[in-house]
């Protein structure tokens, strides 16, 4: 039984049908890259997983538990935000908080919500939160160290470079220990040099057996890091398979056309050394 299974997810905006039934199975610890040209529904698919968009139809199951359509009211949909972590193309860090606060904010909020659920009184809650905040700070520091930002903890996002900002965003997503981490074109707003440092972090995460879904235009990276590659075209999964299968002998014509084009424009060295 696959860890994440998505069946026949459809989504349309007005009259344009963006996703025309996407199926996907992913095991725990696997890294999936989604490639394809722009406007083919890659990002929309990722947003559907995160419930930033609500799919029109289809089911999403994580770890045997159906999270969409929700089994018990709207509550499930809100909670599922913690099953998925999301890293955005344009970072979306909170500008008024420094790097460390950005990471710990969600932890603190979650701790406070838990206390509220236990019906702890206001003053007692504030007192407990002080301790919790200290714990969370430690966790936040550890995570920031992991993404290589030990010396930038007190800096505000506007003082960080794009790559550092994106790494903070990754740390922020990691802090909640999501089951599945989604990257929505994490490097397309960065120059090649900064791209490298972000990709290195993602690669490290892949080695730590995080389950990840990465929408990317970095073919080489997709090939190196992922266990599965999915090529999307026109809102359907055109082809899915291991990196070798997709990059070396793609079966579908469209995949071939796409890959040869991206090889022409992007890389001097061939993606496939066969």
């Amino acid at each position: 039984m696959a860890y994440l299974s998505v069946k026949d997810v459809k989504k349309s905006f007005g009259k344009t049908e963006v996703l025309k039934g996407v199926d996907l199975e992913l095991n725990k610890g696997e890294v999936l890259s989604i490639i394809g040209s722009s406007g083919n529904g890659k990002t929309t698919f990722l947003r559907c997983l995160n419930f930033l968009e609500t799919p029109d139809s289809g089911t999403i199951t994580v770890d045997g538990e159906q999270i969409f359509p929700p089994l018990s009211g709207a509550e499930k949909v809100v909670n599922s935000g913690l099953t998925f972590g999301m890293v955005f193309q344009n970072f979306n860090l909170f500008p008024q908080y420094n790097a460390l606060e950005n990471v710990t904010l969600a932890l603190n909020v979650r701790a406070e919500n838990e206390l509220k659920e236990q019906k702890v009184k206001f003053f007692a809650r504030k007192k407990l939160m002080k301790e919790k905040k200290k714990e969370n700070e430690l966790i936040g520091k550890q995570i920031l160290e992991k993404v290589g930002l030990a010396d930038k903890m007190q800096n505000y996002p506007c003082e960080l470079s794009g790559g550092q900002q994106q790494r903070v965003a990754i740390a922020r997503a990691l802090a909640l220990k999501p089951d599945i981490l989604c990257f929505d074109e994490p490097t397309s707003a960065l120059d090649p040099e900064l791209t490298g440092e972000v990709l290195k972090v993602i690669k490290n995460l892949a080695e730590d057996n995080h389950t990840m879904i990465i929408v990317t235009h970095e073919m080489e990276f997709a090939k190196n890091v992922s266990d599965k590659v999915m090529f999307m075209a026109d809102g359907v999964v055109e082809e899915i398979g291991s990196p070798d299968e997709i990059f070396c002998n793609p079966k579908s014509e469209r995949t071939k056309a796409f890959l040869s084009k991206s090889e022409e424009t992007f890389s001097e060295e061939k993606l496939c050394q066969c």
Binding site: G85, N92, F94, Q96, Y156, P157, C158
Partner: protein, 167 residues
């Protein structure tokens, strides 16, 4: 100014509020000083509430959708999103237009003069006329300058305080 006129004179012109109270001799905005002041107050409050709410609306709408999405993914509720993330950014954005508006308000108080509220300009004018001196009106002007200057300094300080991050 027109709004102040309307608030002050219209009820009387329309006889809306006055006629039920004719017999008691009580009117809404009759001729005493305090009711003139009340009329000016009402006019300013309505006018500036409209301006300010527009500034707030602009500020809140200018926050990018991505911030809300990031919060949603992190599992924040709507109120938490607003108070912990959005509000501070809004405050930073609305301080410059708000300081403009407040300074204009200080200067606009002189408009209450037109319906005979005893305010700074009114006082200056009477002083000038009764004593035959021109200086009191300049003093009134200087007072406006000092008041506005102090407000400018205050808001500059606030802006600087919040400039540790960029939105």
């Amino acid at each position: 100014m027109l709004q102040i006129f309307v608030v002050f004179y219209l009820p009387g012109l329309l006889n809306l509020f006055t006629w039920p109270m004719m017999n008691t001799g009580w009117k809404w905005f009759d001729d005493t000083i305090s009711t003139r002041f009340l009329a000016a107050l009402v006019a300013f409050i309505i006018n500036y509430a409209a301006y300010f709410s527009e500034i707030y609306r602009g500020g809140i709408e200018s926050i990018s959708k991505g911030q809300y999405e990031a919060c949603q993914v992190l599992g924040l509720t709507k109120s938490q999103t607003f108070f912990k993330v959005v509000l501070m950014q809004v405050v930073k954005r609305i301080i410059p237009p708000m300081s403009n508006e407040i300074i204009t308000l200080v200067k606009d108080t002189s408009l209450a003069n037109t319906i005979g509220v005893v305010e700074l300009m009114f006082e200056g004018k009477t002083f000038m006329l009764t004593n035959g001196l021109i200086w009191p009106i300049f003093y009134a002007g200087a007072f406006y300058l000092i008041f506005v200057g102090a407000l400018t300094l205050l808001f500059n300080w606030l802006e600087k305080k919040l400039s540790y991050y960029k939105v």
